[in-house]
Symmetry: C2
DNA sequence: TTAATAATGGGTATTAATAACAATAAGAGC
DNA sequence: GCTCTTATTGTTATTAATACCCATTATTAA
């Protein structure tokens, strides 16, 4: 099996050398080039150095990691970019993956995780470091539990009522709905009264708020 | 350093033996007990076999993995349960972590990921397997992009208008709001007209839907 | 089979909301 | 100082919504 070819892009010398030493200690990994900026990476590639993976700091002077992803994506779509970062801001994580990053790793990962990440990415999967995965999990759990705790209000509405409810929310008047549904205006009025009564609302305004909050609108 | 002590709970013999062989081939891991059901795990622990990690199938005959988490949590809160599963249903993943699981691993992971997962968990972090992390990432990206594409509607509302808007959504009539805010009923009517005009709504109903959807209600 | 319920409608009365014509006072910006 | 905007209020008219009373029909449950 060939060695995994990597270009390392990181503007701080000490950090770059440390990571390089770690990677070169592995028999199946080879750092074929280094760069202190995104533009330098593109220059390397233009001169024929084609890696499997680019390991890039998200924060570099001229061209940052995110911009580098875009540039690489368009010229060499099969090269995988992995972002290195000090920041655990979720915004950057999402942005990186949306732009096509294959990995996002905080700089405080240990050796084994870094190597595992590179092999995972080399295998075609995406990798998010353990610490960030945990953060994301906690957020999802939070959202899920917040959702489940508020969904106590459950009202049994008929199909017709839900249909009318949706039209009301779109701004239709009783007469318009009656014409649209081939019903009497009086019937629609009856449904609306039922909706207000069943949901315990005071009027249309509070009814619609209830409907949106509790997900009764398509 | 001591060996990592593991109890393996899995009702299918072949699978259990396979995993056991994989783990025992590692110098720093020891499978101290096996079980074909959650209840058997508790029996082992009652008789003095205390592991660092319990690796448990989510689907077992009597007591499943999730129930096992709860039982272990209450009697031995420092023991970490890692769930093994065939299913990639997100619901189970969330449920497992909400109950206090330390890991969730699909059965199709390779050896190195399994070992990495166990070491990560032993170190106190939570672990979600690469495949599921990717699924979750994709969902987050989806949500994020869906959010950003709809948030084009931005209306500049004054403090008063937002105040009135909230009261309207709570079901107050113009007269009630006028009394509450020490204003003329006619003033409230004016604000409501502005709200409808500014947001491009047809009436109160569509105004309130707009307000909830776009987050104008506290 | 009978009773209950949901969907459909009618009548009528009252209340609330919407719309379009205004004016005045206060404050911000030039 | 002057202008422009915003918040405030007025008058009047029309339209829409709400709240009761009720009946009929069809379907469902007991």
């Amino acid at each position: 099996m060939d060695k995994l070819k990597i270009i390392l892009a990181e503007d701080h010398n000490l950090v770059r050398n440390g990571i390089k030493m770690l990677l070169e200690s592995q028999a199946d990994i080879e750092v074929i080039a280094e760069a202190d900026d995104g533009t330098r990476v593109l220059e390397h590639m233009a001169s024929g150095l084609i890696p499997d993976i680019i390991l890039a700091d998200i924060n570099m002077p001229e061209m940052d990691g995110i911009s580098l992803i875009k540039a690489v994506k368009s010229s060499h779509p099969d090269i995988k970019v992995v972002i290195l970062s000090m920041l655990d801001h979720e915004k950057y994580v999402m942005q990186a993956f949306m732009e096509g990053s294959y990995g996002y790793i905080l700089k405080n990962v240990n050796e084994s995780e870094m190597l595992f990440a590179l092999k995972t990415v080399a295998g075609g999967a995406k990798y998010l470091c353990v610490e960030l995965t945990e953060t994301m999990l906690n957020r999802c759990i939070h959202e899920a539990s917040a959702q489940s705790e508020q969904e106590e209000v459950q009202v049994d509405l008929s199909m017709r009522e839900i249909e009318v409810l949706n039209l009301v929310a779109e701004g239709y008047t009783n007469q318009e709905m009656a014409d649209k549904l081939f019903l009497s205006k009086r019937t629609i009025e009856g449904h609306r009264q039922m909706l207000i009564d069943k949901t315990g609302s005071k009027n249309t305004a509070s009814l619609i708020r209830f409907a949106v909050v509790n997900g009764y609108l398509n």
